[in-house]
Amino acid sequence: MHSLDKRFLNEIKRVLPSHTILLSEEQRKPYECDGLSGYRALPGAVLLPDTVDVVQKILALCQRYQIPVVARGAGTGLSGGATPHPEGVLLSMARFNQVLSIDQVAATARVQPGVRNLAISEAVADFGLYYAPDPSSQIACTIGGNVAENAGGVHCLKYGLTVHNVVSAQVVLMGGEILEIGGEALDNPGYDLLAAFVGSEGMLGVVTEVTVRLLPRPIAAKALMSSFDSTEDAAAAVARIIAEGIIPAGLEMMDNPAIVAAEDFVSAGYPRDAAAILLCELDGGIEEVETDVATVSRLLLDCGAIDVRVAQDESERARFWSGRKNAFPAVGRISPDYYCIDGTIPRRMLGKVLAGIADLATQYQLKVANVFHAGDGNLHPLILYDAGKPGEFERTEALGADILQLCVRAGGTITGEHGVGLEKIDQMCVQFGAGELEQFHALKKVFDPDGLLNPGKAVPTLSRCAEFNAMHVHGGHLPHPELPRF
């Protein structure tokens, strides 16, 4: 049975029709987790509003009764950002699914937050436009969730993240006030609140409308696939391409375990014996793409590529990408479970970090396959494990935490695009000191003084960090080095 205050529920029933208030366990069950299924909780109630006015009323009531609120889009997030609060309300924004307007002159589209990422590009395709950020979940994930997580994708290096492609948003604050942030002008008065909201993981307000910037579809696009004997050579090739002044639309690397898994799954034509492959997509004008393909091919060979293939037609280009785009499910086929890590590192550290990951994997007796947004340094090690084996998930989580610490030590970050959520809350204590965390809390307080939006996520309390640091490694030394550890 749900645990919410009866008086609160009675008031909710006055603002929402009963079929949009889900209270029974069977109804609430589908919402118990997001894409990070290791973390589950049944929400007190699931609410399915479809007007901004009702969202305002819900947040006003939640404020009055001090009920926690977790907003949810499609629930495809990978860090537990939409994991429900057991004493709270799960606010599903899925019914806000309309494209409101398209402005061909300014090349923008105003959409509701529940519109799927790919649906935006589909809606504007007739005008030769598209929405650039393309997280791998783009057929399912919603733009509201993309804003909350500052979602990326394979084209970020050239076209930016969500923060670069959203021009304004309407948000409802805890308590029910409406706030317009950003704007369709190319800059706006006051502080850049939009920048604070994008990637804020549902901690500051509920997004009820988003205006995105659209781009003209490039006239031409070509994909190259090259294979290497070593990941270091592949990483060096990435640096050479960029040093040449070329910014590829996509630049992705996969290591051997990922190559083999993808090849077994979709037969993308990848060489199974290569230590690494590099997929490179070049887009732009016809002349530009031709010139760039020739230059990149030469550079790849100079950097020791054993093979360079240029996709001859659209179907071959799609096939090259199919392996990368299916890398996660491909790994899912060869292992009962896998756990995706999301660190970012300065690219020049790739060799060292991959070697470090291999060492750690050996220590933890787990296998790791690596896929890498090589252009922007965002590394996704996939740890293979079997949740059915006692202790294996815990070992996987510990390995994941160590990999993230390795990324921070290499000058990188614990999350490039998946967010902190519940998953990486302890690693925030590694990334930031007490001062930064205090500043985050002060910022949060401006928008949500009572801490009711998505409590317990994204930014840890100082006491949680004190506890975490007390049990953890300091300066590379374990607290009690004399004790054996397994």
Binding site: D187, Y191, A195, P218, T413, V420, N469
Partner: protein, 367 residues
């Protein structure tokens, strides 16, 4: 000041926050100011002192804290101390064939990167290559409590914590004193060509706006004094193909024109009256202005010279869904326009959240 680095242990594990003596001393100054309540006026090259509301407080000089601290061209990231001049950064980047994509104005040779980011101004390339806020990857700053804080980093993708680095852009130093900044940079295009068309503002504007939805390598556009100029940048073949498609005349002085526009050295900017800036959503219809104006950013930005009170301009901007700023000259006591009540309240609270004693550039952005 010599930089001797020491390690703070507060960061746990072994991610060491290296803090220079300059930054330590500055943090101490801020803590003293916070205790006494005496405001500080953060000053880089002092080239944009005309901007925003009147500066007040004891000057806090940043120009001595200069130098590029990290630059690896193939990572597309540069990190520099806040007092590094814009010119020095641009020269360093040019050596590796790279540039600051947002083409910031300096308004003087002493302009620093700290001041540039604090003011958040972007040049002619803004609609096509992004704004200052789009390129900031990380900062070290001192907040109003005198705490030395580090947000973001030197990597392109980073979603750990709120995006405080971007919040600092355009905040005019009111949320913190930035001491070090990391920016994304891009390769300088191999070829640049400016086309010029003689036309009315209406025809010029329509041509500018028509480019947003077309796959053409435009990197600047401006209409003024019966001439529209469009800059194309990229590889030679693409630029030539686009130039052939667009028509117009080749402007051999194009590069100079964009430089003068960026730095406000065109004759237009020397005319009588205050300089107003109208920022709005690009539209096909020219705003009904009676004073001299210049349009850039594909129709997203109007510069207006006038000695008249701004009430008409405010109305015109609002009806076009934009906002106006007094950019240079005249009465600087007016408060920010264009923020609603909720927005204004949150802006004020945010300031308080970063600078509770209101000592960092107080009142420079809003009262």
């Amino acid at each position: 000041m010599a930089d001797t680095f020491r390690t703070l242990s507060c960061h746990g594990f072994d991610s060491r926050l290296q803090v220079s003596d300059f930054t330590q001393t500055l943090a101490e100054t801020v803590r003293e100011a916070s205790a006494s309540g005496d405001p500080l006026c953060i000053q880089g090259g002092n080239t944009k002192k005309f901007l925003g509301r009147e500066p007040v407080g004891k000057p806090c000089f940043m120009s001595g804290y200069a130098g590029v601290t990290n630059y690896e061209p193939t990572e597309l990231v540069i990190t520099a101390k806040a007092g590094t001049t814009l010119m020095a950064i641009e020269a360093t980047l040019a050596e590796a064939g790279q540039m600051l994509p947002f083409e910031p104005p300096g308004f003087g040779v002493d302009a620093t990167i700290g001041g540039t980011i604090a003011c958040g101004l972007s040049g002619p390339a803004r609609p096509y290559r992004g704004a200052a806020r789009d390129l900031v990857l990380g900062i070290t700053c001192i907040n109003g409590n005198g705490q030395i804080l580090k947000f973001g980093g030197q990597v392109m993708k980073n979603v750990a914590g709120y995006d405080v680095s971007r919040l600092m852009v355009g905040a005019m130093g009111t949320l913190g004193i930035m001491t070090e900044i990391s920016l994304k940079v891009l390769p300088t295009p191999k070829q640049t060509k400016t086309l010029v068309f003689e036309c009315s503002s209406s025809a010029g504007l329509k041509k500018m706006t028509s480019l947003f939805a077309r796959s053409i390598p435009v990197t600047a556009s401006a209409w003024h004094d019966d001439f529209l100029r469009i800059r194309l940048s990229g590889v030679k073949d693409s630029v030539d193909a686009a130039a052939a498609e667009l028509g117009g005349e080749f402007d051999p002085d194009g590069d100079q024109f964009w430089q003068k526009l960026k730095e406000h050295r065109l004759d237009f900017f020397n005319g009588p009256g205050s300089l107003w800036r109208l920022s709005l959503k690009p539209k096909n219809e020219v705003l009904p202005l009676t004073d001299p104006y210049l349009i850039e950013w594909g129709g997203g930005l109007y510069w207006v010279k006038t000695s008249r009170p701004p009430s008409d301009l405010i109305k015109i901007a609002a009806s076009a869904g934009g906002y106006i700023t007094r950019f240079n000259g005249g009465d600087r006591t007016e408060n920010l326009s264009g923020l609603g009540d909720v927005g204004m309240r949150l802006n004020q609270q945010l300031k308080k959240g970063f600078d509770p004693q209101n000592i960092l550039n107080p009142g420079r952005l809003f009262a």
